[in-house]
C-alpha cells in the first residue's frame, strides 16, 4: 500500500470523515488495512489508463481468498472488454457511462451451473440446487469475493464502483455474456484510476448506534439520529454539487414506487427464466 500511504488520513480524521464530527465512535485498534477500508469512495469517472499486467489475476486471487460457504465456490466473474458489449451493459444500467469508460469491467455471477455440470458428469442429482437458499449462498459468496477484489484494487491505488443496476435486466446480461442456465449476473464492478476531479469526499454513514445493536435489536433515538444524519448528508451534497435532497428524501424516493425499481420488480421471474427456481 506504499503508493497510497502518504495521502491516508490518521485514525481520528478517518473516523470523523466517515461519521461527521459529532458522531465519531470510540477509537479502537487500528491498522493500515483499516485506514484503507475507511477511505473507500465509489468513483464514477475513470482515466483510460490500463492497470499493470496481471492486475485482473491479482484481484481474482484476492476474491477467491474470501470465505465461501462449505467451499462450494458458487460464483464466477466475467471480465468484459468488448466496447459494443460494454455499451449495451451501460444501457441496461440506465446509461452509466463509467461502464464504457473504465479500463476493467467485471460482472460477478451467482453461479450454480458449475455444480449442475459436476452432478451431470457424475450422474447425480442435487435436490438442494433449486432453493432460494442456494441462490442466496451464491449471491452472498459473490459479494464476499467482490469486496475482497475491491479492497485489493484500492490497495493498488485503483478505484471502483459497484453496478447493481445490471439487475435491471438480468436476462439481457445473461444473453450478452452467454451465461449457461444456473448463472446470473448479480452486480457489476468498474475498476480503474479515478479522474482526479471524480474522487470526491468520503461519504458519511449513519451513526454506529443506528446499525450496531447489543444483545438484541433496539431502535433507540432513531429519529434524532436520522435528523442529524440528514443534516450531515445535506452539507455533503452541497459541497459535492449533487442534488440537495436529504438522505430521508433520497432513500424514500429510491424505493417509493415499482417504477423506481427500474425493472428489478421483475427480478424473480427473470431469475427463474435463467434457471433459478428459488423454491
Amino acid at each position: 500500500m506504499d503508493s497510497i500511504t502518504p495521502t491516508m488520513p490518521g485514525q481520528a480524521e478517518a473516523l470523523a470523515l466517515r461519521y461527521g464530527p459529532d458522531a465519531v465512535p470510540p477509537a479502537g485498534p487500528w491498522s493500515d488495512a483499516i485506514a484503507l477500508l475507511l477511505g473507500h469512495r465509489s468513483v464514477r469517472a475513470y482515466r483510460p489508463d490500463a492497470p499493470p499486467a496481471g492486475t485482473l489475476e491479482t484481484l481474482v486471487a484476492a476474491a477467491q481468498s474470501a470465505a465461501t460457504s462449505s467451499n462450494l465456490q458458487t460464483w464466477s466473474v466475467v471480465a468484459v472488454s468488448d466496447p459494443a458489449v460494454r455499451a449495451q451493459l451501460a444501457t441496461i444500467a440506465g446509461g452509466q457511462k463509467h461502464i464504457e469508460q473504465c479500463p476493467l469491467f467485471l460482472v460477478w455471477l451467482a453461479d450454480l451451473s458449475r455444480l449442475g455440470r459436476i452432478a451431470d458428469a457424475e450422474g447425480r442429482t442435487l435436490e438442494g440446487l433449486p432453493y432460494l437458499e442456494t441462490f442466496l449462498v451464491a449471491s452472498i459468496d459473490a459479494a464476499l469475493a467482490a469486496q475482497n477484489a475491491v479492497v485489493a484494487a484500492e490497495s493498488l491505488g485503483l478505484s471502483t464502483v459497484y453496478i447493481g443496476a445490471l439487475r435491471n435486466d438480468v436476462e439481457a446480461v445473461a444473453r450478452l455474456l452467454r451465461l449457461p442456465p444456473g448463472a446470473a449476473g448479480v452486480f457489476g464492478l468498474c475498476v480503474g484510476y479515478a479522474e482526479p476531479a471524480a474522487t470526491g469526499e468520503v461519504k458519511p454513514r449513519l451513526p454506529q448506534s443506528a446499525v450496531l445493536h447489543r444483545e438484541t435489536y433496539g431502535i433507540g433515538d432513531e429519529r434524532a439520529q436520522r435528523a442529524a444524519y440528514d443534516g450531515l448528508m445535506g452539507a455533503f451534497s452541497r459541497r459535492n454539487e449533487m442534488q440537495a435532497d436529504t438522505w430521508t428524501e433520497r432513500v424514500l424516493a429510491r424505493i417509493a414506487s415499482i417504477r423506481s425499481l427500474r425493472g428489478r420488480d421483475r427480478l424473480k421471474p427473470a431469475l427463474r427464466a435463467l434457471g433459478f427456481p428459488l423454491r
Copy 2:
C-alpha cells in the same frame, strides 16, 4: 498490519498456497493488503482472550465504509455476548461450539425495517420494499459490510469464521435477537484469537480458469481442472486430518438432498414470516 507482517509469505508463496503449485496465476501487482487477503483462513477454535477495547467499533466502522446500494444502508449487526443466547445460536447452527467460545459473535442482518420505520414516520409508502430485489440488496450489502469487518479483524491479528448455518432457522434467530419485522439474520461471524493449533493451512481454491471468464462464459477443460483440484484438496484434507473425500464428493453431498439443507429448504416461507414478501 505491523503485528502480522513478519509471518506473511511473499507473493509467489501466497499464490502457490492458494492455488497449489501447478495452477499459480500470473504474478501481477501486489501490496500488504493483498497479502493479508490471500492469507485468509476460517478458524473454528478460539482462545477466550477478548480483543482490545474499541475493536467492535473499529470493525463496524470498516463495515460501514463498504459500498452500499444507493446509500440505503439496509443492514444492521447484532453483537451477542449472553452465553445462554450464544448456546441457542450454536444449537441452531448444528452444534458449532466456536459460536459459544469466540470472544465476539456478530449476527449480520438484512434490515429493511429501518426504511419501513422512516416511511411510517414520514407518512409515506414504499412500494419497492416487498420485492426479492430489495431483500437481495440488503443481503449483498450485509455481505460487503461483513467482509470489510473480516479484513479489518484479520489486519489486527484476529481470526474469523462465517456462520451460514444461522439460516437453518431464521425465525428462531429473529426471536432470540428480538428482531422487528423486516429484519433477518443472514449469517453470523465469529471473531477472536485463533487457538494456535486451529489456524491450519490456507485452503486451496479452484484454478482461476474455472471462475474467471473473458468476454463471455466459457466452460473450457472443466473436468480436467476439477480432477486436478480434487487431487489438491485430497492432499490438503489428509494433511489437515479432515475427512478424506474429494471436493467433488463433498460439494455433491452438501446439496444432494433436501435434508442436507438442514432446514434451509424452508428459508423462503421463514423469510416471508419475518416480513419479507420476496415478491
